[in-house]
Amino acid sequence: MALVNVKINNIPVQVEEGSTIIEAARVAGIKIPTLCYLKGVNEIGACRVCVCEVKGARSLVAACVYPVNEGMEVFTNTEKVKQSRKATVELLLSNHNQDCLSCVRNNNCELQRLSLELGCSSHKYDGVKSEAKIDASTPYLIRDNSKCVLCRRCVAVCKQYQSVAVIGANGRGFDTHIGCAFEAPLGNTACVGCGQCIVACPTGALHEVEEIEGVTAAINDPTKRVVIAAAPSVRVGLGEEFGMPVGSNVEGKMAAALRRLGFDDVFDVNFGADLTIMEEGTEFIHRLQNGGTLPMITSCSPAWVKFCEHNFPDQLDHLSTCKSPQQMFGAVCKTYYAQKLNMDPKDLVVVTVMPCTAKKFEKTRAAQNAAGIPDIDYAITVRELAKMIREAGIIFDELPEEQFDAPLGIFSGAGLIFGATGGVMEAALRTVYELVVGKEAPSIDFKEVRGTQGIKVAEYDLAGKKVRVCVASGLANARKIMDEVRAGTAPYDFIEIMSCPGGCVNGGGQPIRSAFVRNNTDIKGLRAKAIYDQDKSMKLRKSHENPAIKQLYDEFLGEPGGSVAHHVLHTKYVARNRY
């Protein structure tokens, strides 16, 4: 690619031809403020916050979409530029519900930060506000359009990442608002609950349905025993809520924090992940050897499952019947563990911490109640956990490193890597290879399925039988694979699908990072690396070697895929409409 010479505020820089002003300015060490811009996802030049002066240009230009060319001179910080940006943000503020002090995004709001950085007056323009109502029609998400700035970042991720596209701008002019087709509540649409819109939102217009109150009440209820467990990827996201760099693994501190919050048992969903491998691996081998429906597709990601039900209701046979790790964990708590404690499962409250908002939906599904009551009582996001820790006054970075409790807190590296795209596939291969071939795989690392790219394929030799696998993350990628599956042209035996790009490390329940961090940091890559680093350092790296899993089968479940296991750990799916 050819290089061009440009000057940013008189600083000469060389950048690739076709770069935008914003990218060139970054090279010159200048940060141009943005609001609607999300690199590669939402490049529409709509909000006009990033305007700059270009020598010779008729008017101010939007730096996020304006390409540089040879000899261009850009000024990012003139009075004219500053006045324009300031007026733009002040106009946004004039139609904004400035409920900042009690807003869920207080201190992590891009509009608030812009207002501060640009020196805006919060009530420069006062006038009529657009009418906005709150959509609380789902068990996972709240939309409050009184805080919406119409940047369309949520709309862009819903379509580009997920190909779900159930939200968009309706109406025009002052009445424009983000909503669904025919103004349907979100809960009546094909929304999958992934929460990518929440982590893309610059303001408090979108947030999860919080369950903190219920969790706290359970902890304070002396008649309840409260179990907590966090998903694999939570330990590599949580630290960011406390100012740590992206990719910090805070597993030990997290265990300590959970104990200090008053939970009775501090377990780990990684155990549920190991259990998933036992069941899913067995199911795959069974399908492979008995002419079952192939390719088999993983069912760990509830937003993916719902996506499949809405968009590929004729392909549900491909889904593994296994519950997700969260649901398996809950099911085992309320059956096996309650039995072990000799207590009524109704007095056991199971809480999970998830990088995910769709988990809040998943726990409400039918056929997720092994003990006749819901497997999971509360599923909170990483953000909700961080809020609880802050409310409790726990100084997170000073916490000691602690361990999880036995037996449901014992896990292998295979369970841990579920948190990144390709992790379930690798974990399954570690076990399936040994079960089928009867000896250890040449390498425990199946590196072909690692990495943050959206679609990965590989082929492995299992005792003379070639097994072709595919790993997809981001539902837009899943759709491509599923179109092939439907057409009968997908050359795969086993497919892993995760809803969020990069897998759970980049889930909709993870800490919300500003557009600047998203645009300039490989968030999902760094978080995934932290997970793989921990896996590498572990002695126990295969699900079927987890002693707690063996004990669970010996004492309670019997054989993987057996009748008890089937009752407790497997589920059903339903065909859903697209509209």
């Binding site: 009418e131 906005a132 109502k133 359009n145 379509k159 779900v164 596209a165 159930v166 939200i167 968009g168 701008a169 309706n170 109406g171 025009r172 009445d175 608002h177 909503g179 669904c180 087709a181 025919f182 103004e183 649409t189 697209r578 509209y579």
Partner: protein
């Protein structure tokens, strides 16, 4: 929340209309620049309005989501989500009629029909859509019902006119 008027009228599209729509959409898809907007325009020519049943077919053909179609349909004033009633009432809100009090006529009409501007009664019989100058300012204020013109109106005349159509 918005000025978007959703219809409460039951969809009465015919098989012929659907065949025609599918044919038109196939043509549009094969054209050089297939666009949702063109599809909506042609669909409105066929049905007179753009209910969910029609927009869903457009979404499927054009390979976009229903919301993307709806977003376009609610952006442009040329599209309507409501069918015209069997009796379509239009009060002129042009300058001459307006200064002669057509705003009050409109308000009375909305009250008599229990509809807001841009809406159609659930049975599909009556609709109200304010119009611009109909070209007979000498008769201001003017109301048009289908092709019938009522001029030099007073608010008191409105209930009688409505009653006449209710009796039909």
């Amino acid at each position: 929340m918005s000025k978007i008027k959703l219809t409460t009228v039951t969809f009465k599209g015919t098989a012929e209309q659907e065949t025609q729509l599918r044919q038109v959409l196939t043509e549009i898809k094969q054209s050089e620049h297939p666009s949702v907007m063109t599809a909506l325009q042609r669909a409105q020519e066929i049905y007179g309005y753009l209910p969910i049943e029609v927009q869903s077919i457009i979404a499927d053909y054009m390979g976009v989501s229903l919301e993307e179609v709806f977003g376009v349909a609610t952006f442009y004033a040329q599209f309507t989500l409501n069918p015209k009633g069997e009796y379509a009432f239009g009060v002129c809100l042009g300058t001459a009629c307006y200064v002669k009090g057509s705003g009050d006529i409109q308000a009375k009409l909305e009250e008599c029909l229990n509809l807001h501007d841009g809406e159609t009664s659930p049975d599909g019989k009556y609709s109200i859509a304010a119009t611009r100058c109909v070209g007979c300012c000498g008769l201001a204020p003017v109301m048009v019902v289908n092709k019938e013109v009522y001029g030099k109106l007073t608010v008191k005349d409105v209930p009688d006119i409505v009653a006449k159509y209710k009796a039909m």
